[in-house]
């Protein structure tokens, strides 16, 4: 994962609430076995509409998505995060994120910045009145800036630290491999295993 401390890019106003992961990428686009190429499915149902924000210059070059509350609800598909990142987004701003989406974003280096509903509304107005306005998201300061607008955002400190350091979760956990092995030795014998005994540890 690439470390990220600050990102600046064109802001894209998406005036919708409850943008679920089926909207971000419909199930028929989930069949690849790679982590790339999912940008073709991003908001597939809406991309057919010429007026849809990503079909409008200069928003099609946006990297900071500003969406309504309850972004990323529904299915756990990490493909939603890959589709956004494959398209070029580095940040999503919303007043409320679904838990699994927020977790997936943090693993991949997509910043999920939670702002107040009022600040999201102000950002929408700025981006709509002056398309192409750049938005800066500063992880060190936990602030979002656009023109003379500046507001705080929330992100949990551990995710922020991992994003800024670009750290791989698995390597972090494997530092505690001894603790895991010790825990395994103490598990109750009645817990089930999926494989016949001969193949089990």
């Amino acid at each position: 994962m690439e470390p990220i401390t600050e990102h600046t890019g064109i802001g894209v106003p998406l005036r919708r609430s409850n943008v679920d992961t089926d909207q971000i990428i419909p199930a028929v686009y989930l069949k690849r076995v790679s982590r790339t190429g999912f940008e073709d499915g991003l908001f597939a149902a809406w991309r057919g509409d010429e007026q849809f924000v990503l079909n409008v210059e200069p928003f099609d070059r946006g990297t900071v998505l500003v969406a309504g509350p309850d972004f990323g609800t529904g299915s756990s598909r990490e493909h939603a995060v890959w589709a956004l990142m494959n398209y070029g987004f580095r940040v999503v701003i919303s007043s409320r994120f679904a838990d699994i989406f927020r977790g997936n974003a943090g693993k991949q280096g997509l910043v999920a910045a939670q702002c107040s509903p009022d600040d999201v509304e102000l950002l929408w107005k700025i981006l709509e009145n002056d398309p192409g306005t750049e938005v800066t998201v500063d992880l060190a300061e936990k602030t979002v800036r656009a023109k003379d607008f500046s507001a705080p955002f929330e992100i949990d400190d551990y995710t922020r630290w991992r994003l800024m350091e670009g750290l791989d979760d698995i390597a972090l956990t494997l530092r505690h491999a001894d603790d895991i092995a010790e825990f395994e030795r103490g598990r109750p014998a009645h817990k089930p295993v999926t494989l016949p005994a001969a193949q089990s540890q």
Partner: protein, 470 residues
């Protein structure tokens, strides 16, 4: 915390699985007892292991099945869609390479991942269960802590059998009273979601409690826990009791002999202590519930079947009004139309929400001696091959076929339309599945979420209906 108070069920299961407490902002390291794997969210995770030169740490705590994009007809033939076929083939190769048990298409134990875990007796009280699928919450019906994860987390569990997580908050959902005849677990959970909203459960694990919950069968409890995610929650749980133990005893992976006694003794401790405190509480009056259906494009947009399509102007805040306007436009519905007058083209009976044997029995009881309306196509998709076999032994397949419904093989099918079972643009379904999102069942398709009883009655009448309308 110095103050000593009782713990909730969720807190007890969490504590028992904490390998290491996080310090400061650091998450806990939580041990995972059972990892369920399917073809859609796993290929990139196995690939990650390969790139890093890592192994599956505990293949003996991992099990895979093919469910999301398998066809439900002609399963003896190769999968026609080459991209779906690649995904299924990739799972087979990965399971072979990493030593993971797999139930492939056509196997007697193949089925939807959340149907086969409980069926095999692999899901047990007090366990931690994860899967790269948000409906993993289903397994919480056994008093397990079960939740959906993304593909990076799938890779993390494969490599370490743990997850780094902060504890979830707890919310009690008290469902007190007695459900009327014809009111099912599906109606309860749709009413819960309508009450707390699709974001109401965010950050929480829900514990369903109260007399109405205690009276439910295991399969009905699974229906309720299944849709916890539709309320935004990480997980849903129900404390194990005699109903749970009775369901588990004798299943292939249930403990036996002395270990069974030890297990039951441990499981009896899995209850929220009387002096425990939830972070939030909600109460639902079971006596007042009636069959519930959705009218909009998120699972919180639901109403009792006896009501009419709402007028967005009458809805509280601007955001709800805007969302309702968008939903009604997509659903092609007029405010004020009685829900019972909405005609459907398709009825889908199946999914991890309502694809178990009791669901099929309930629908068959309504359809016995009746016909599916000429204007309606009805698909019956058992949740697993074992459910299918049991249904055939009971003659339910004949009831469905005689009524004019299609009797299919097991899989996720039209719940999410990754296989060929999809709605055409503009088509409208009454579906026992869990999501009515735009395009969920096929591009341009319109979905009304319903119980198996309402699904069957709707198939007969051609418009949304409950059995008492027949």
């Amino acid at each position: 915390m110095a103050e000593k108070r009782g713990r909730t069920l969720a807190e007890k299961v969490w504590d028992e699985h904490t390998v290491r407490r996080g310090e400061g902002a650091e998450p806990d390291v939580l041990f995972i007892d059972l990892h369920l794997v399917h073809e859609v969210t796993s290929p990139q995770a196995f690939d990650g292991l390969r790139l890093a030169g890592r192994q599956v740490r505990r293949p003996d705590l991992t099990i895979a099945t093919e469910d999301h994009n398998v066809p439900t007809v002609d399963i003896e033939l190769p999968i026609a869609d080459p991209v779906s076929k690649t995904q299924v083939d990739t799972l087979r190769k990965n399971c072979e390479e990493f030593g993971v048990r797999l139930h492939p298409m056509g196997d007697a134990e193949q089925g939807i991942v959340h149907v086969i875990g409980p069926q095999l007796g692999l899901t047990q009280p007090g366990m931690t269960v994860v899967c790269g699928d948000s409906h993993t919450s289903t397994h919480g019906a056994f008093g397990a802590m079960a939740f959906g994860i993304g593909t990076s987390e799938v890779e993390h569990v494969l490599a370490t059998q743990t997850l780094p997580l902060r504890p979830f908050k707890t919310m009690a959902i008290n469902v007190e009273g007695t459900l009327r005849p014809g009111v099912t677990a599906k109606d309860v959970i749709l009413a819960v979601i309508a009450k707390i909203g699709t974001g109401g459960g965010q950050g929480y694990v829900l514990e369903y409690r109260g007399s109405a919950i205690e009276s439910l069968s295991m399969e009905a409890r699974m229906t309720i826990c299944n849709m916890s995610i539709e309320a935004g929650a990480r997980a849903g749980m129900i404390a194990p009791d005699e109903t749970t133990f009775e369901y588990l005893e004798g299943r292939p992976h249930a403990p036996q002999g002395k270990q069974w006694d030890e297990a039951v003794a441990a499981w009896r401790e899995l209850r929220t202590d009387a002096d425990a405190q939830f972070d939030a509480e909600v109460t639902i009056d079971a006596d007042a519930l009636t069959p519930f259906v959705t009218w909009g494009t998120n699972p919180g947009q639901g109403l009792p079947l006896g009501e009419s399509v709402p007028d967005p102007e009458q809805l509280g805040d601007e955001s709800a009004k805007f969302a309702a306007e968008k939903a009604l436009s997509y659903m092609d519905l007029e405010p004020g139309t009685p829900l019972r007058e909405i005609a459907v083209d398709t009825v889908f009976l199946g999914s991890c929400t309502n694809g178990r044997i009791e669901d099929l029995r309930a629908a068959a009881d309504v359809l016995r001696g009746r016909k599916v309306a000429d204007s309606v196509r009805m698909l019956v998709v058992p949740g697993s091959m074992r459910v299918r076999k049991t249904a055939e032994q009971e003659g339910l397949d004949k009831v469905f076929v005689d009524a004019g419904a299609e009797w299919r093989q097991a899989g996720c099918s039209m719940c999410l339309g990754m296989n060929p079972d999809q709605l055409e643009p503009g088509e409208r379904s009454a579906s026992t599945s869990n999501r009515n999102f735009e395009g969920r069942q096929g591009k341009g398709g319109r979905t009304h979420l319903v119980s198996p009883l309402v699904a069957a009655a709707t198939a007969v009448r051609g418009t949304l209906a409950s059995p008492e309308d027949l």
